[in-house]
């Protein structure tokens, strides 16, 4: 019996450390995360490790998740709001393999939520950490390709080119044309890229109850928004920030009129149909409706 256990320990996936990363790597990532929390919105460089999933596919979020996760954590992973999207499933499959923690779809039960491009519709609590996968950590990259230069701009809070960019956008398009990844001011100090969440989700970051951690694996940066921190989208006094417009549209499954919707083209009729992007939220709404009836 004992022998079997040892054999099991030395075989296959068990040869990897708990949560995949070695303890020194976890310690470094945690330290850098603490620094990020201490300076809201500031991008902390860190020694990003290679993960068994490709760069650009969530390796940053994954490293933060794996360095903060404990055996008692309950994990939720979403991609585009959905728990069942292929990439979310793949990341869960990996984390389950190396940690064996409980996995949930329930946004309220999860202690850790790793996400790509969405924040759950249900407000998160102080017991929860949400971890964002970040493709481009640098909000100023749109106006300046050099990292050395953007670091200087942040240090001096030299954001005039970003403002000018928004202004020119209005002049050219009559609108600010940034869809997702809308730049925000954090704690009235740093301009930050909130990751490609829709503008719809920006207000959820402002004065949130939960801890928001952001990590870009390829670009090797960690940043954070601690609870109760001011997060404001960039806007002009006479030209306000606007979220996506879903006026007159509702989810075809749960009937919700107040959530971010996915637009789907019906292949046979060519008609546009709408569904909640947050799949857990949609299921909860549907269940509640069912109970009422």
């Amino acid at each position: 019996m004992k022998k079997n256990k040892r054999a099991e320990k030395n075989s296959g996936q068990n040869r990897y450390n708990f949560a995949f990363l070695d303890e020194n790597a976890k310690r470094e990532i945690r330290r850098k995360t603490l620094k990020a929390i201490a300076i809201p919105g500031y991008q902390v460089p860190f020694g990003s490790r290679e993960m068994p999933i490709a760069r650009g596919w969530g390796t940053g979020g994954l490293q933060v998740t794996l360095s903060v996760i404990g055996k008692k954590d309950v994990l939720k992973v979403i991609d585009q709001g959905s728990d069942d999207s292929v990439n979310a499933v793949n990341i869960k499959r990996f984390i389950k393999k190396v940690t064996d923690v409980e996995i949930t779809n329930d946004s309220l039960r999860a202690t850790l939520i790793q996400t790509r491009h969405r924040i759950p519709e249900i407000p998160l609590t102080q017991e929860q950490i949400i971890i964002f996968q970040v493709p481009f950590p640098e909000p100023l990259r749109t106006v300046e390709p050099s990292e050395a230069e953007t670091r200087r701009m942040h240090a001096e809070a030299d954001y005039s080119r970003m403002w000018l960019y928004l202004y020119e956008d209005i002049v050219k398009c009559g609108e600010i044309s940034i869809g997702a990844r809308y730049p925000v001011y954090v704690n009235n100090r740093y301009i930050m890229d909130p990751s490609p969440i829709p503008r719809w989700d920006i207000e959820k970051l402002d004065n949130s109850e939960c801890l928001n951690l952001f990590c870009a694996g390829r670009e090797k940066r960690i940043y954070a928004i601690p609870p109760h921190t001011s997060v404001k989208p960039l806007e002009f006094e006479d030209f306000k920030f606007r979220v996506e417009n879903f006026e007159g549209k509702k989810c075809e499954i749960c009937g919700c009129e107040s959530s971010f919707l996915d637009e789907v083209m019906d292949g046979s009729t060519g008609a546009r149909r709408y569904f909640c992007s947050d799949s857990d939220y949609c299921e909860k709404q549907t269940a509640r409706k069912g109970n009422k009836q």
Partner: protein, 363 residues
């Protein structure tokens, strides 16, 4: 209903994996052993070890087999394995004069101390298909080897020559070479443990290139020598061989050889003018795991081109070069567009419709 398309991800992924395995397993050919790969496809193994930045021929061969010959994917698998290993310590600095050479040439001088040694190179092999290699089989292979070695005196286990002096040192003695600023006292930067910030130290720069993707380095180096840059290099010395790796013994502190790694080293010479000083040559340095001359030479060219002040071209801009040559990063991000982006796209769609509305109102 259209929406269900994003559900059932788990089954889809598992089935995709099975299909992928099927692609590798189908057909009647005998299974390739990793030993066959490391023996017979050794240049692929060398390349993967370099780009995966882990010297482990057996594991690199396994990665190559598993990735069905895709060097990007294989290097990636190897690096993902490397990342799980704790850092136990660092080797002592290697002096490449101590390298056990199998090939060593200089194109800057006709004759060099120790002589030009072509070694195993396909440089002068005509690029004609050798049809004898089709289904050669073990028997014929052994016979061919026997015929090849007939009358050849064996030197060492790998046919090495031993230590030879460095060509660059001759120029150095004559005061023709700019000495790089010695920052020997500084601990080398470790790019796998820290994220380099720009301008990056030379140690960070050389490390990043040593694990860079061969094609990526080649493209940028080529752009420079072709005309987007002007370093006009001469190949001072190119050497391929086995480098003893020494560590300081944890108890006695004495140097202790833990093994040897096959490496390729290139030193290029280029004119360097500093204002008000005597014109001198400067050196560009490249080194990588395994036998990979394209990579070592490209790296040496880029090391030199990045030293040019006032970068005008891509290959002279350190941040540009170092941020774009990593195969695992550039591949990962360039293909991540395959992931669903419908939330961001919805957001863009909303902006476009609004902008169209505004434009309609104007008309």
């Amino acid at each position: 209903m259209g929406y269900v398309a994003v559900k059932g991800g788990k089954d889809a992924i598992e089935n995709a994996e099975r299909y992928l395995d099927f692609q590798r397993l189908k057909g009647d050919s005998p299974d390739i052993s990793t030993g066959q790969i490391s023996d017979q496809l050794y240049l692929a193994v060398d390349r993967i070890m370099g780009e995966g930045s882990l010297y482990a021929p057996d594991l690199a061969a396994l990665a190559f087999k598993q990735a069905a010959g895709d060097t990007f994917e294989a290097s990636f698998i190897l690096r993902a394995y490397r990342t799980t290993k704790p850092r136990m310590g660092y080797s002592m600095p290697c002096d490449t004069k101590k390298m056990r050479i199998i090939r060593r040439i200089s194109s800057a001088f006709k004759d060099i101390p120790g002589g030009q040694i072509l070694g195993p190179t396909p440089d002068y092999t005509l690029k004609l298909l050798n049809f004898d290699l089709i289904d050669m089989g073990c028997k014929k292979r052994k016979a061919a080897l026997k015929a090849l070695l007939k009358g050849v005196k064996k030197r060492g286990s790998s046919g090495e020559i031993g230590e030879l002096p460095k060509v660059i040192d001759m120029l150095r003695k004559e005061g023709l070479v700019v000495e790089n600023k010695k920052d020997n006292k500084e601990e080398p930067f470790d790019v796998t443990r820290e994220s380099p910030v720009f301008p990056a130290s030379r140690s960070a720069s050389l490390q990043t290139m040593a694990r860079g993707e061969t094609g990526g380095l080649l493209l940028l180096a080529y752009s420079n020598i072709r005309g987007y840059g002007d370093i006009h290099p001469a190949l001072g010395e190119l050497r391929v061989g086995y480098m003893p790796v020494m560590i300081s013994h944890p108890l006695t502190g004495k140097p202790y050889e833990i093994g040897r790694v096959k490496i390729t080293e290139a030193e290029i010479i280029a004119r360097f003018n500093t204002e008000g000083e005597k014109p001198k040559f400067s050196i560009g340095y490249g080194v990588c795991f395994g036998h990979n001359e394209v990579k070592a030479i490209s790296m040496a060219i880029l090391d030199r081109s990045m030293a040019n002040s006032g970068s005008k071209h891509a290959s002279e801009d350190q941040e540009f070069v170092l941020s774009h040559i990593d195969g695992i990063e550039s591949m990962g991000f360039s293909v991540h567009w395959k992931l669903p982006h419908y939330v961001t796209f919805q957001s863009d769609l909303d902006r476009l419709r609004k902008a169209q509305e505004v434009s309609d109102e104007k008309e």
